[in-house]
Symmetry: C2
């Protein structure tokens, strides 16, 4: 699947992924009106509104981009009807040829991680049948529980030819609270077998583990199916991590609404404009609500989103041009 993602990035010339993180306040009133008229101001009504919004959006932008990243929390808050629309969105995007990264940030102990992996990337045995639950192509994984929480995802990825992105350095303001902590690492030195300590940050330690885990799932194009999440809001850390994890594809949130721009992204990529995929969520899906795209109006929200995708591609192209790539 990592090879397919890379092919799609090369085909579209767009190392970007659109975050399908719908909030009710992004959905144009006309869509809400239709949905609520049919299903009421209920979880079902909210889910229907999100589905109509997603579908119009996907139809308008799918040809420009390699991948989408639905954030499951935004669907989970609408309960069972919301999660049914998450699944419907995953299926619809796959029908349209998009790679689907489920932003689920799951992670637990062994057998429980195995259940999450089965839920989102694999299959589950029911009597004599194998059934699929959500069936994304990639998911995001939280590493706090260590290798035995991550390995079950890797095992399912091997079997199903899928992939994961492990949280390493997240884009939010307080990500450094734990992730930036200086951690003691014991490196043995040559002289007399003594031990010196060369400190590393926790995110580097996690990054080193991602590199190690990734060796199990190398693709054909130089990258592993075990990738990493590193926020665009921390370009310096991105530069470090690009070297720590040379074969990890990096999913980069934080572009646009969270404050990062094209020039912050360069160090996440390799010499061939590969190695990273940049996410934008509200900057694309709610573009019509920003001043820059307000001329489109709510009724043409998806056209505004299309223009925002084109502008994002151009911004990244320009950043590449600036460093001669």
């Amino acid at each position: 699947m990592i090879d397919k993602l890379i092919e799609k990035i090369q085909m579209t010339g767009a190392p970007i992924v659109v975050g399908l993180d719908p909030m009710m306040r992004f959905v144009p009133d006309s869509i809400k009106k239709t949905a609520f008229a049919e299903k009421g101001e209920t979880l079902e009504g909210a889910a229907e509104a999100i589905w109509l919004y997603n579908k119009e959006l996907i139809d308008k932008i799918y040809d420009l981009i390699p991948a989408v990243k639905p954030q499951i929390a935004m669907y989970e808050q609408f309960g069972i009807p919301g999660l049914a629309v998450f699944k419907r969105t995953v299926d619809y995007c796959k029908e349209k040829g998009l790679v689907v990264i489920g932003d689920i940030k799951r992670g637990d102990i062994g057998s429980t991680s195995a259940a999450y992996a089965a839920a989102h990337l694999g299959r589950v045995q029911v009597g004599g049948s194998l059934c699929t639950a959500f069936d994304e192509d990639f998911v995001t994984v939280n590493p706090y529980l260590g290798s035995d929480g991550v390995q079950p995802f890797i095992d399912v990825c091997r079997e199903e030819k899928k992939g994961i992105f492990v949280l390493v350095k997240t884009s939010n303001p307080s990500s450094g609270e734990f992730q930036d902590r200086m951690v003691r690492t014991g490196d043995t030195t040559g002289n007399a077998g003594g031990i010196t300590f060369s400190d590393k940050t926790l995110y580097e330690i996690v990054g080193m583990k991602v590199a190690e885990w990734g060796e199990q799932l190398m693709g054909q194009k130089g990258y592993s199916a075990v990738g990493a999440v590193v926020g665009a809001t921390y370009p310096d850390q991105g530069k470090v991590l690009r070297k720590v994890m040379p074969h990890a594809f990096i999913l980069v949130p934080g572009y646009g609404a969270q404050g990062a721009s094209g020039k912050d992204l360069i160090h996440f990529f390799d010499e061939n404009r590969l190695g990273a995929i940049v996410n934008s969520s509200r900057g694309i899906i709610a573009a019509y609500q920003s001043e820059k795209y307000s001329q489109f109006g709510a009724e043409n929200f998806a056209d505004a989103s299309r223009q925002a995708v084109l502008d994002m591609i151009a911004d990244i192209d320009q950043a590449f041009a600036g460093v001669g790539r």
Copy 2:
């Protein structure tokens, strides 16, 4: 809600929580047969089997225990029908007067954590209505993203009188991979304002944060609605963390099937047998499959579970007696 949990623990004399983590292989064949006959070997069939199994179990043990902890992964793997049974289980347990701890281990950046908090502890606005999605009493939260990922849960807890348990030191074998790392902490010393470094483990650092977050939500009985998860499999770390977080109620997984026994638990509690609640999952719900309770047989699986609950209470009582509490 933390006060209600404490009252229920005192009322039942049982500082235990039963993990409702159903795996298909725990479900007796007769139940599977009934469910598959009605709904096929499908996600719906699996979900129905789990529901029948859960209901019989809950009916048999609810009077002995203060709380249950359904593990959402075990339901999520059966997709939408599975999650509908998760919700049905939550509702049924609350009807029976049980406190429900949703073991969801969610955690994300600000607005996304807010959506998870709304999904599981709060309400969500749909037009002019407020709707509830899953509505547990407590949930477990992953701290890797730092304060701005946790605060939205705390905000919803304040509003809805609910609570969280933050992962601090998990029960799995590789939990130490990141959680036990020695982290540099700068404590200023008295002399000349110089800085010395007194190292702490990452789990202690997270524990200190839990204590700090907890100050916002102190209950009437000496404990905060911000609790912590610390594995019974690490009793020494539990001893340290009990002191680091004096007002955090500790949810303790790892008893029974994962290897810990009553005597490992003592240091998680305070002098009044409070301050902790011990989880057992398969040791209770699949008791009939163990040699100790095999005489019950699959048809009486719920009676075996009831006996296992009684034995667990006795084991913990004995451990308290051993230290004169």
